[in-house]
Symmetry: C2
Subunit: 376 residues, 2 copies
């Protein structure tokens, strides 16, 4: 029962503080501060901005006037004048997803420490939305942007941002042909470790469920070009296929590239499990995919790890509360975000130095979901 209601005077049992209403935007300007302090705007600006020179007496009067009036600078005006802002754009697929949520949080923390704010834009992995987001950020005159690019092959909008002097830092994903600072985890190495574990336990029919092919998945039958997938996913898949190629003839047999989201992963996993020669292990590319994979296995009536072993390609917060606990590949998400923002500020400070790759290590965290050797 939704019950919108109007409450006018009484809130939480307490009378409204009426005298706050209708007090029009004070919006004290620099001019008013200067007048009250009895100096020119230029002097007031210098005193407040702490640049140029101003006598101690003048500075004191200005600061006192500013405090008395409750002066707060008008940032859009300042930004107009300066030609740039203190805002950093963050462009990701979905701020509500665990990986991007955490990275964005840590970007935000690092930004705050550097005196910057962030503007977050979601793309849902749609290139068109990403283009719009980047252009919006350029119009906003952001100081820089951190982008988890939806397309590995089309970075023209990002190159344009760079051309306009706006630093672009690629997070989690590389873009072909774009010379930008990048920060990502060594997902290939992590996946290789996980595969080594599974193969060492005797698994050969190992499934892989991933949304690396973008929002719409990978059309069955279409040629698969791993190099065109989002690089983080592509790196994992490449490692998966390489490991599998060592021990089986047809490594792509159980590779399922689905649209992104838990439900798509669920469906893809059900399909894998319905095959007569079903996989004995499944690699889930990330936390969200893992949810679908686990539910599909349970609904199909299989046990983990007895019937199907499971590994997740990154670390869900809930990895230790499933039964059995989930084996994962962990990546240092907070460090990725911090590094991304650091690269932005570095490039701001030195726009011409060669681009940097920051590649952070991943580790394989063995838990009970890859618990034993293969039975059947």
């Amino acid at each position: 029962m939704e019950r919108p209601r109007n409450i006018s005077r009484v809130v939480d049992g307490v009378d409204r503080v009426d005298d706050l209403v209708d007090r029009r935007p004070p919006s004290v300007t620099l001019t008013e501060v200067a007048q009250r302090a009895g100096v020119s705007r230029a002097t007031a600006a210098r005193a407040l901005g702490g640049y140029g020179s101003a006598s101690a007496a003048a500075r004191d009067r200005v600061l006192a006037a500013a405090a008395a009036l409750g002066y707060r600078p008008n940032l859009p005006a300042r930004n107009t004048r300066n030609g740039t802002t203190t805002t950093v754009g963050v462009v990701v697929a979905d701020i509500a997803s665990p990986f991007f949520g955490q990275s964005t949080r840590s970007i935000s923390d690092a930004a705050k420490a550097a005196g910057l704010e962030i503007m977050v834009l979601n793309t849902d992995e749609e290139l068109e939305a990403e283009r719009a987001a980047v252009h919006l950020l350029l119009d906003q005159r952001v100081a820089g942007m951190v982008v988890a690019a939806a397309s590995r092959t089309d970075g023209r909008h990002l190159a344009q941002a760079q051309a306009e002097g706006v630093p672009v830092v690629l997070l989690d994903r590389r873009v072909i042909g774009l010379d930008a600072d990048r920060v990502y985890a060594d997902n290939g190495a992590g996946a290789a470790l996980a595969m080594a574990e599974l193969i060492g336990q005797g698994h050969r029919r190992i499934g892989y469920v991933s949304s690396a092919a973008g929002p719409h998945g990978h059309p069955p039958g279409a040629p698969l070009v791993v190099d065109e997938l989002v690089s983080s996913g592509g790196d994992r898949i490449r490692a998966y296929l390489a490991a599998l190629a060592e021990v089986v003839d047809e490594p792509t047999r159980y590779l399922a590239l689905c649209p992104f989201g838990e439900e798509a992963a669920y469906a893809a996993t059900r399909e894998l499990l319905a095959r007569p020669d079903r996989p004995t292990a499944v690699f889930a590319s990330d936390s969200v995919i893992a949810l679908g994979v686990l539910r599909a296995i349970a609904d199909a009536g299989f046990a983990v790890p007895g019937d199907v072993a499971v590994v997740a390609g990154d670390e869900p917060a809930w990895s230790r509360v499933t039964t059995p606990p989930l084996s994962t590949v962990t990546q240092p998400v907070a460090a990725l975000g911090r590094a991304a923002l650091e690269l932005v500020t570095r490039r701001l400070a030195d726009p011409t130095s060669p681009c940097t790759d920051v590649v952070l290590p991943t580790t394989f965290q063995a838990r009970a979901s890859t618990g034993g050797s293969v039975g059947a």
Copy 2:
């Protein structure tokens, strides 16, 4: 092994697009568009802005010129002139937490549909950080803000925003004495349903683990004033205590208000479970708390629901992949975010109408973690 390395010329096996560099910010201005179109700035502005009047011929020439030059408006300049922006501030405890992550995402979606962007600021439940965030947003001249207030009792900074003509919408939490539009879920009703279920199954020693007392928890021994807790948590606790008061003498006996975060919840739960008369059920206030609760129960060697039944006060994405699946109180998170943004735009359109409360329904989702009746 972190291995930062510098790559200069070759990226992903493809040569750098060199001619993109050093192409200085084109930053085409309205003036240039007007010149190229052979009209005045005013005419160009009208044609581009689609207001006032302009002949079809002039408009065409202006639009053509704008397209040819790649004109993009300078938003800070526009905002300076207009005195406001198209940005909505979102102030929450932690964008990386599931509830705020999802709400923020849905606020963002609704904002985009309304032609607005969001600027996200985290407070970690610290009032001081919230004040700074609100002031920053005011300086940025945001069009409005959505705030999940850290303090139920101190909303002066929010009142100031209102006084400056900036709409403030309270999300998830009410603030005493602040007459603002609000949107929140009926958490009390949800908690009551969950408690009814537990009590109906015979549970009497029901624990409650919550971070509603803010970032530092509730000092043991200090008087507990439920009315001063964050309202969403307070509503749940009130319902919990009311239900318990019907059947036991000392309803506050198992109420554990811990600092926020999984680890604090873990510790609090371990303490509850170590008591000689340990609880037979535990209510976890939210998803993050639930993680700590479940791990604590497992580590203490108890089974769910056999030894301890568990309910979570909101719906974690992973509620169906635990063993057993977790009983939850669900709230319509996406709808909350949408409603919040809608209230912002409504108040923008009509600054004087009485404030609105949007209270959305919660439901109790029974799963196996509250599976049976009480044994011991």
